[in-house]
């Protein structure tokens, strides 16, 4: 008997030893840049950092977007081997991490010249990188989370140009649908792709106060005037705008369908540019326009929907000093130029002038510069379940599953059942 146990015990210790990690000064970084030009650029920056800091290695733990935000990050933050640095979306997620004690306060490190290297809007009360006046997130990208990409060849074949008003937009959709094209492809099985756009549409027709009140559960969506954006979604459906399988399709396959010329338009964020190389068929030409002006009398008829993304240093990082020096390196002009050239808008000063950006990214940057307001996406600004409920209501209306009025009714009932913050 004892022999058996001794054997078993030695087996277990042997297995444990095998699985224990070997670590010098290894900083662990987890993020969601799993493919495309962004991954290449990040690898290049990491290599540059390692070359400049002998003895320090960087281990990247990489996920797909969806996995990362669902279980990837939460599992790691709670494991016994936390990452030193992790990717995060500005806004609500950062605030939540600060409350849970995961995020390290970087104000002191920023106080020297580091902070001065960023554009002014990177660290403001509304930028989502700060909580209670302290800096917790180092932003690396300004992401437009929705713009409307279009296939210029298909537009030309149908004698169409980028619409500037909602009426022109609907007319263009009808022309495309009549020509047998799929006007807009969206892969909405996770609800955020269309939901994000529908939020932007809502911000264009609902006042900022009402927009906030509804998502913060202070006012019902009906009282806040959300019938209008849902009716616009219904209008799109009635014009025959969307692919039939929008509710079953994933975001990535939908993007692939756009790059394979299976649809004329694809509403998604600026990160689309990074996938062109992987997915586009030969000779593919495209451009983008922001959601057309819906109501010129609104306070900000030409707003963009955008957010900042960046990195948070874990409060319990094993190597805080090295982690901070990596973040400084990552946001140095030299590294930020590499990053921007992969298809990102960098919040680091002077990068836009130095980086050699594609026409697509120049267009996005110009759009950002001309915008009269920046709308943050609800799912990184407000409690996720409320944002998701609006996304689903938008999908109901856009897929013809429910009328705008019924979708609104469903939305308010669903949100009413949720606990108040």
């Amino acid at each position: 008997m004892t022999r058996f146990f001794r054997l078993a015990a030695s087996c277990i210790t042997a297995l444990m030893a095998a699985s224990a990690a070997v670590a010098d000064t290894e900083i662990r970084i987890t993020h969601a840049m799993s493919s495309g030009a962004g991954k290449e650029a990040f690898d290049k920056i990491v290599a540059g950092f390692e070359a400049a800091n002998p003895g320090v290695t960087v281990k990247q733990i990489v996920f797909d977007d969806d996995v990362y935000s669902d279980t990837g990050l939460i599992t790691q933050l709670q494991s016994n081997e936390v990452p030193d640095i992790y990717f995060q979306w500005a806004g609500y997620p950062v605030q939540r991490d600060v409350e849970a004690g995961y995020a390290a306060d970087l104000s002191a490190a920023m106080a020297d010249s580091w902070q001065a290297g960023f554009i002014d809007s990177a660290f403001t009360a509304g930028s989502g990188t700060m909580v209670d006046g302290k800096i917790y997130m180092v932003p690396i990208s300004l992401d437009i989370t929705n713009t409307i990409w279009f296939n210029t060849a298909i537009f030309a074949e149908n004698n169409l140009t980028a619409p500037t008003t909602w009426e022109e937009f609907i007319a263009a959709i009808k022309v495309l649908a009549a020509a047998g094209e799929t006007p807009i492809v969206t892969g909405n099985n996770e609800l955020w792709p269309l939901g994000n756009w529908a939020s932007h549409v809502a911000a264009r027709v609902v006042s900022a106060d009402n927009f906030h009140a509804a998502f913060a559960q202070e006012k019902s969506f009906a009282d806040a005037g959300f019938l209008r954006p849902l009716a616009l979604m219904q209008e799109l459906h009635e014009a025959g705008a969307f692919n039939k399988d929008m509710q079953g399709l994933g975001a990535d396959p939908a993007m692939a369908a756009f790059f394979q010329e299976a649809a004329a338009m694809h509403p998604i964020g600026s990160w689309l540019v990074g996938s062109e190389g992987d997915l586009a068929v030969e000779g593919f030409t495209y451009s983008q326009f922001d959601t057309p002006v819906i109501d010129p009398t609104q306070a900000a008829p030409k707003s963009v929907i955008a957010t900042m993304t960046g990195f948070v240093q874990h409060a319990k990082a094993a190597h805080p000093a090295e982690a901070t020096s990596f973040l400084k390196y990552l946001t140095s002009v030299e590294a930020a130029v590499i990053w921007a050239e992969s298809g990102a808008i960098s919040p680091v000063k002077g990068v836009a002038e130095k980086a050699n950006m594609s026409d697509q990214m120049k267009g996005v940057a110009a759009m950002l510069a001309n915008a009269d307001a920046m709308v943050p996406p609800p799912d990184t600004t407000y409690p996720v379940p409320v944002a998701e409920a609006y996304y689903q209501a938008a999908a109901y209306a856009a897929s013809g599953e429910k009328s705008a009025a019924d979708a609104l009714k469903w939305l308010d009932e669903t949100v009413a059942a949720m606990p108040k913050p």
Binding site: M1, F4, L15, S19, S34, S35, I61, V62, F63, D64, D66, V67, T71, G72, T75, Q76, Q78, S79, N80, E81, G250, D252, P253, A256, A257, Q260, L279
Partner: protein, 277 residues
Amino acid sequence: MSATDRRTPGEWLQLLVGGAIVSAMFYPAVWMVLSSFKTNREMFKNPFGLPRDWLWSNFSAAWDKGGLGGLYLNSIIVTASAVTLTVCVATAAAFAFSRLAFPGRRWLFRLLLIGLLLPPPVVAIPLFAILRDMGLLNTLWALILSGSAWSLSLTIFIMHGYFNAIRPDMEEAAMLEGASIWQIFRDISVPMVWPSMLTLAIVNTINIWNELMFALLFVVDDEKRTLPVGLIRFFGRYSTDYAMVFAALTISTLPILALYFLLQRHVIAGLSATAMD
């Protein structure tokens, strides 16, 4: 009736109907393998026929891009450890339930029913918290131990059935000769149920190899993923490169299919035993 007689019309009908249904059921697997040799273009032009050129490059592309080697290794580590643990621990427990007297025996045996009746999703969330507190989250141990624990009930019940089907004569004789219980277990009982242990090992291998939910929730590192999760991620990322996804599917399923056809008798015996108790 021997297999060489002339078949009656009824038997011809049986063969025809059976053959047609079985071919239809088996076709998707054949289609999967054939498609993995085609180009994307050929797959749509000629979805049913043999590939014009047998493209092996899909496999190397899938193997490299999907990191299938690492996924395989993790699946093998998890499955081998969990199955060994389950079968050893369950055999000892089944032996005790069948042969030995101890306090709480009936009660403990009934308790095992929980693991048989309840679906694993029921514990997914609290188990997540427990593994976190034990520091096992995001390690292969999380999958080995929970996979094993959730296989125990079934394995013990079936093993218990096997023990009960064997008369305890030899064990009683050894007892009279003064052998200890541990000696009896090791030298007499285990050799007697050895084939059944093997059968159960195979059944558990299939179940744990294919386990998805725990693997999805408890392990997030790319380097620690198992095949089912890796496959889903691969599918998500390359969902439009049909040929490569089919190659990945083929690589990940063919070995287990081959193992099955090799050990068919054991698999079938084991799986049908799961329904006999």
